[in-house]
């Protein structure tokens, strides 16, 4: 089963390998499960439809993930659920976590306490909307037959690679050789590869260790459905066992509403008041021009041919943020070489690499004109990766030795919040930033390996 690299792509769900960009129509359907046996029947009906990471050029793709409540709903014992990370077990909408992530649950339309419980997420991707709806109908039928009910449905259509504010998105995903496309492997990016274990459970992570995950006694896997951890191979599970986590990943789903009109208006008004060009101010906030070209590479105007030029450092090329402000969105989301220890060094890059996420989101525009992003991130350690990026980099007013700066696009605003644009001789400060992005829903889910999904649907524990 193991390939040349040891990565079991045929046991991983396809989202780990690609965002299914050739399938523009997508539906993220969430269900609340009924009684345990019915829930498992639902899983077993759809398990066979799941697209693996080794499949190529499929017309329709299906991915399945479960929340902690979903795992409990299918009857998985508490002791097993307890083997997952605490963040996952408590869920994204736990009170302390919302405060930490800067979420206002009062604005949520799904996933909040008191709303329909999100137990199972089925992501369906298709070439045409007919194919999509045919596939989703089959999933719906399986859910209903198993006693499940609709919790929330997110439909998306991607016809252009830009996000709703109009900027090219998805440029700097971490480079993981085992998961890369043939084209990427042939022409690898300049960035250091990030170990597979940072995104897929059961493999060596950036510390050379196996990330925490549920490894069960063989006695609860009598049919030997799960991969085996031999004794003495995993420091966290010295006795070995049956690996429920292997080839799985933690999936973060968040609906981010984007006020595109408000963003354009603010940029226009502030530009005329400050004498900056409106496009330049918008680019300063994002850190890239609309084409995707980085301000570090192209500080004065958009140069679309530089959209793919991604080989730069912030500290090395722009230590004071005169090109790309320290607080710009993309500089926060991936600070590259700009943080301690010794900014500009390989050591600094290595520390940043401990906090990477794989993004698989899709933008949406609803009938009422609401636009935004169904943000999807994959990672193996929610606390060190997704939550760290959200709290310590994006939302932190003290990021990069700043004082009261927020991420001008997504950060939660406070009374003193500003956005600082370094310049010579004097910086500009922009205050009174409206909320351009509001989180409207979210969930932490487990995207199991295919054998693990089979195991969960069998219920032989």
């Amino acid at each position: 089963m193991a390939g040349a690299t040891g990565a079991e792509l045929d046991d991983m769900q396809g989202l780990l390998h690609s965002a299914f960009r050739t399938l523009p129509n997508a539906c993220f359907a969430m269900y609340t499960l009924g009684e345990a046996a019915g829930g498992r029947r639902f899983l077993s009906r759809i398990a066979g439809r799941v697209t693996s990471a080794s499949a190529r050029d499929v017309p329709v793709a299906t991915q399945v993930a479960l929340s902690a409540t979903g795992l409990r709903a299918i009857g998985l014992p508490d002791a097993v659920v307890g083997g997952f990370s605490l963040e996952f077990q408590a869920g994204i909408a736990a009170p302390q976590r919302s405060r930490f992530l800067g979420d206002n649950l009062g604005r949520w339309t799904w996933g909040m306490p008191g709303g329909p419980r999100v137990d199972v997420l089925v992501c369906t991707y298709a070439r045409t909307s007919e194919e999509l709806h045919a596939e989703v109908a089959k999933v719906d039928a399986a859910a209903a037959e198993g006693g499940g009910s609709d919790a929330k449905r997110l439909e998306t259509r991607t016809l252009s690679p830009t996000e709703p504010f109009g900027f090219l998105d998805g440029i700097s995903d971490p480079f993981v050789p085992e998961l890369a496309s043939r084209a990427q492997v042939a022409n690898p990016p300049a960035a250091q590869p990030v170990p597979l274990g940072e995104f897929v459970l059961g493999y060596r992570d950036i510390y050379g260790l196996l990330t925490q995950r549920p490894v069960l006694p063989h006695s609860v896997d009598p049919a030997n459905l799960l991969p085996t951890v031999p004794p003495g191979t995993d420091q966290g599970n010295p006795e070995g066992g049956a690996d429920l986590g292997r080839n799985g990943s933690y999936l973060v789903l968040r609906t981010l509403g984007q006020d595109t009109a408000g963003f354009d208006r603010y940029v226009r008004e502030q530009a005329s008041a400050s004498g900056l060009d409106a496009e330049l101010l918008a680019a300063k906030m994002v850190g890239r021009w609309r084409s995707g070209a980085s301000l570090v590479m192209s500080p004065d105007r958009d140069r679309p041919y530089l959209a793919d030029a991604n080989d730069f450092g912030y500290n090395v090329d722009d230590p004071r943020g005169l090109r790309c402000p320290i607080g710009a969105h993309v500089r926060r989301a991936n600070p590259r070489d700009s943080l301690d220890p010794s900014p500009g060094s390989a050591q600094s890059l290595a520390v940043t690499d401990r906090h990477r996420i794989m993004r698989r989101g899709r933008k949406f525009i609803d009938a009422d004109g609401t636009a935004g992003l169904h943000f999807v991130a994959l990672n193996a350690n929610l606390g060190r990766q997704f939550e760290f990026v959200q709290h310590t980099w994006l939302n932190n007013p003290k990021f990069g030795d700043l004082y009261d700066d927020v991420d001008p696009l997504v950060g939660p605003r406070g009374e003193r919040s500003v956005f600082t644009v370094p310049d010579q001789p004097l910086r500009r400060r922009f205050a009174g930033l409206p909320d351009f992005v509001t989180t409207l829903g979210g969930a932490y889910l487990f995207l199991p390996g295919l054998r693990a999904l089979h195991y969960l649907s069998e219920g032989l524990w």
């Binding site: 302390q96 060190r384 709290h391 004082y403 010579q424 001789p425």
Partner: protein, 422 residues
């Protein structure tokens, strides 16, 4: 001259009163959040905290009772701070410590002071981000920074046509003529030459003693390390995961300000060798943080304001407390990435710490085991007070640099660098 000192008070409390103490502690924290705490009036106080340290029914077959600890980082001598506390924060002391059996029934400041002195513990290993930088200076320089930012915002149109050196000169003139900011024209006080000479002398003496005694150090050190290594290999290790409810309780006290309080308690492994190792390591750390790592960085970790290790209960346990910037996750990551060896030196002598190799290696590098260990041994800090709760260590250092650059005559290039700090 000013050298910060660390004040530690510890008093045991009967088990039946623990829940009442917790209510009282929550009350004192409420005062901090409502900005009505009397601690705010005490001069020279950087940080203070009150916490419950649970006892242990059986460490080497002797029971340790529950206790309350008060820890403060101050600009004056511990005695002066305790006196100020007795006089100005009697309400806080009475509310919390009245549950201790020997606390005076109707205390006056003198009785409180006597009681505090009787319960003071001397902590020998105290880290200070920057020795000699007092509260008054930090608060003044923060006001200067904010004032300058506002000035630049309102005068940007006329200033932006000037050269950097001209902007700097203009700003300096304005500061000079603004009474509440004119302090900044004079450089901040530095440690007197005598202090620095004395400190250097101490370093020289210790180095000289080490060199002279190196044969002895080797003769003792090698078998010592071999014996420790044997213990590392044979000690019983087990993985302990924190339970969700207690982590949730701890998290509810975290991330309220830009700094966080951290506290943990650990039992030192039994036996003479472990006890002596801890004592020696703590002394070595005390020496290096006083004389070497005293300028804004604890071996690469820059986000710590104050930290201390206190040996308690007849050297059977160690309490570690710190005030740091950012989230616990980022603090732990900093430990794992930059200061793993330093943590291993101390904590590997504690029960339950991930297995180390030769005292320095392994240990904290086992990311998940280390994070679980810290969460399992962490104590909630029921009350924490900071004189400057919105300033990070990097803000404080930047503010000091802004003031330092103000007084000088700067070239265009230097003035441009100075302006980049604003």
């Amino acid at each position: 001259m000013l050298v910060q000192s660390a004040v530690t008070i510890r008093a045991s409390v009967p088990a039946r009163s623990v829940s009442a103490v917790e209510v009282a502690l929550a009350d004192t924290q409420h005062d901090v959040l409502a900005r009505t705490t009397p601690l705010a009036a005490i001069g020279g106080l950087h940080f203070a905290r009150l916490l419950m340290v649970p006892g242990d029914p059986d460490v080497e077959s002797r029971a340790i009772p529950d206790s309350i600890m008060y820890l403060a980082d101050v600009d004056e001598s511990p005695n002066r701070h305790l006196r100020a506390l007795s006089e100005q924060a009697g309400r806080v002391l009475d509310e919390v410590f009245s549950y201790c059996e020997d606390y005076p029934a109707a205390p006056d400041p003198a009785q409180r002071y006597t009681w505090l002195c009787a319960h003071e513990i001397v902590s020998t290993t105290n880290y200070v981000n920057t020795i000699g930088r007092g509260v008054e200076q930090i608060v003044q320089e923060a006001a200067l920074h904010d004032w300058l930012e506002d000035y630049l915002d309102t005068h940007r149109p006329e200033l932006s046509t000037l050269t950097p050196a001209e902007v700097h000169r203009t700003v300096r003139l304005v500061v000079e003529s603004t009474p509440q900011m004119s302090f900044a024209i004079h450089p901040a006080p530095t440690m007197p030459v005598a202090y620095r000479v004395l400190a250097l002398l101490q370093v020289a003496i210790v180095l000289a003693v080490l060199v002279v005694a190196s044969p002895v150090v080797l003769v003792v050190g090698i078998p010592w390390m071999l014996a420790l290594h044997y213990l590392e290999k044979t000690d019983w290790f087990w993985t302990q995961r924190p339970d969700a409810a207690s982590v949730d309780r701890l998290r509810s006290q975290e991330d309220q300000f830009s700094y966080n309080p951290f506290a943990a308690v650990g039992v030192i492994k039994s036996g003479w060798l472990r006890g002596r190792t801890v004592a020696i390591v703590l002394r070595a750390i005390a020496f290096s943080v006083r004389h070497v790592l005293n300028k804004g960085s604890l071996a690469g970790v820059t986000m710590i304001h104050f930290a201390r290790w206190v040996q308690v209960d007849d050297q059977r346990r160690v309490v570690f407390c710190s005030f740091y910037d950012g989230s616990l996750e980022s603090y732990m990551d900093d430990f794992i990435d930059k200061l793993w060896w330093g943590l291993n030196l101390v904590f590997s002598n504690g029960v339950g710490y991930p297995r180390t190799d030769w005292l320095l290696f392994g240990g904290a590098r086992n990311e998940q085991e280390f994070k679980d260990y810290l969460r399992c041994h962490q104590l909630g800090t029921a009350m924490s007070y900071a004189a400057y709760p919105t300033l990070t260590t990097s803000n404080i250092i930047n503010n000091a640099e802004v003031r330092a650059g103000l007084a000088a005559n700067l070239s265009d290039a230097r003035a441009s660098q100075w302006l980049a700090r604003l």
